[in-house]
Symmetry: C2
Subunit: 193 residues, 2 copies
């Protein structure tokens, strides 16, 4: 027989299996027995590594989320902002996003898990991208330097997230994205001049 897997190798196999199961049936359908079976091992091996299902789910999520997209550079602040929102909207409304929402719901009342999620889902990197975007706009003379503030930079994504929480969810219509940019973000940036 193939030699018995150990340590790192086994760990990767479990994570891969968990990711596959989540892709097929979402986080809700990711049962420990199923993951164990799929990975060709048993629950012991899993529980020796992660304390509970949620932790495994979060750990496995990174196997789905791939490299961060490069920051868009359309030449205008409006174009960049819209592009960022559109990409985020696409990601969140994909099957991929459904999994993330499932995880989020499961972690919703456990702050410890929530911070884990934050780290894995690249929310912080996202904020930095918005700051960078604003700085480019300032360099082009398109926005006042005073507009480069964290609260301003994070507002559009925050609004998009809240929009998800309110609606049934799947996908936010494009008009809303345009609205967020034209009615909130740009006035906010320009108002600082």
């Amino acid at each position: 027989m193939g030699t018995r897997r150990r340590g790192e190798e086994l760990e990767q196999a479990i994570l891969r299996a968990a990711a596959e199961v989540m892709r097929e049936s979402g986080y809700a359908g990711m049962t420990m027995d199923r993951v164990a079976a799929r990975a060709g091992t048993n629950k012991n091996a899993i529980y020796r590594r992660w304390p509970h299902r949620a932790a495994l789910g979060i750990a496995a999520y990174r196997h789905l989320s791939d490299a961060a997209l490069p920051s868009p550079d359309t030449g205008t602040l409006r174009g960049d902002a819209l592009e960022m929102l559109r990409r985020a909207n696409e990601t969140w409304s994909s099957p991929h996003g459904a999994i993330l929402r499932g995880l989020l719901a499961a972690a919703a009342d456990d702050p410890e898990l929530l911070t884990l999620m934050r780290a894995r889902s690249g929310a912080d990197a996202m904020d930095l991208a918005w700051i960078a975007m604003l700085e480019r706009a300032v360099a082009r003379g398109e926005a006042p330097a005073a507009a480069v503030r964290p609260r301003v930079a994070t507002t559009p994504m925050m609004l998009l997230r809240a929009e998800y929480a309110m609606r049934g969810i799947p996908s936010v219509p494009d008009e809303v994205l345009v609205d967020i940019v034209d009615e909130v973000f740009l006035p906010l940036v320009r108002g600082r001049g």
Copy 2:
């Protein structure tokens, strides 16, 4: 013995029991057996009325949520806005709010339940209060008429909600509320002039 309860009377008893249990142990602790026991009946009577636990939870939630507070009127737009946010923050971070979050998490992937929640939790009434607030500010000459736009009015509450989703939750620090008002809401309103 007291005569056997039926129809409306029994239904109310069940809802009251469910609300009590939720108050004590949150939505997660609201098991069907417990509710039945507390109501002095059995699960049959419950399942004859609600298809599943979530539906009962949502139905019982109205027994906790009481009348809407009156809109604040501090004399300044800034004061009103801050007061609204502070009240919302208090409500959401109370035990009461914990229950609501639990319900929300449970309903998160069922659009049908989500709309039910929206109706019960009075989110729409909230938006109207913000519009009214803006109109008073316009009447006082404190804000340009062009600032009375739905997207502007809903932005602070949206930001607060997103803040909850991001953090572990319980309570958003007051500085954040001040920030939302001073860094986003007021500039947005004034920028319209």
